[in-house]
Amino acid sequence: MTSYRTPLSRARGLGAAKHGAGHWISERVTAIALVPLTVWVAYAVLRLASGDYMTAAHWVADPLNATLLVLTFAIAFLHMHAGMRVVVEDYIHKTLSKSVLLLLNLFVCGLAGALAIVSILKVAFTGAGAL
């Protein structure tokens, strides 16, 4: 039977991910944002490593630091989720184990990301003085 579908229409959705450009672009956009953000984090780690709880709490309570931390966590967890998703799709081919791992990846990134952001906001809003 003759197919009247175009070659593009037949090829669509046949990749391991079932979709395409959106994922690829979001991986790049988050990567670009993470270049300056992670450099800033490295500086922050060096600064906070020699200090104690009060040093860290005061530093996080600064609005600029809190904002950048929340952005870093959000963007990093999005980027991680995208990256790990590709790794799973490349190496795991059984539908059930692939689905389980993809769900696990989503839930781990979602939970850890949310926990980190709520923790930062708590310290930023209540400050070290609340203790």
Partner: protein, 135 residues
């Protein structure tokens, strides 16, 4: 119909590693993935840091002493190396995405540069950490 057509083997679906000569661009590609997975763990450690800070001074001190312990420092060294590598090689990938530097000579040269940068940057960061009393 000949016999050959019946016994024909399935063609390989992707290049098989066993017949490929190991080269540096292959190494940088797989290391990008490995360091990415490593940094996944690193982000979870960072999230743990944020949670410990929100829990209070005692939890924070415990978490910080864990990170500063010998095992913690080895992990931090690995994460720093993973980060400097993934950062530099990520920028290399972004440059490739613009269509530049993809010829063999440039790709080999940037591979050497990325590996050298990751090592030098990691050693420098730990040098700074030692000087500022961070470790």
């Amino acid at each position: 119909m000949t016999d050959a057509s019946k016994t024909r083997r399935e063609p390989p679906l992707s290049p098989f590693l066993s017949v490929w000569r190991w080269h540096i661009t292959m190494l940088t590609s797989i290391v990008h993935r490995v360091t990415g997975v490593g940094l996944y763990g690193g982000a979870l450690i960072a999230a743990g840091w944020a949670v410990s800070l929100a829990m209070g001074p005692e939890a924070y001190a415990t978490y910080k002493s864990l990170l500063g312990s010998p095992v913690g420092l080895v992990v931090m060294f690995g994460l720093t190396l993973s980060w400097t590598y993934h950062l530099a090689n990520g920028v290399r990938h972004l440059i490739w995405d613009t269509g530049h530097g993809f010829d063999l000579k440039s790709a080999n040269a940037s591979a050497v540069f990325v590996l050298a940068f990751a090592l030098a940057a990691t050693i420098s960061l730990f040098g700074i950490a030692a000087m500022t009393g961070a470790i």
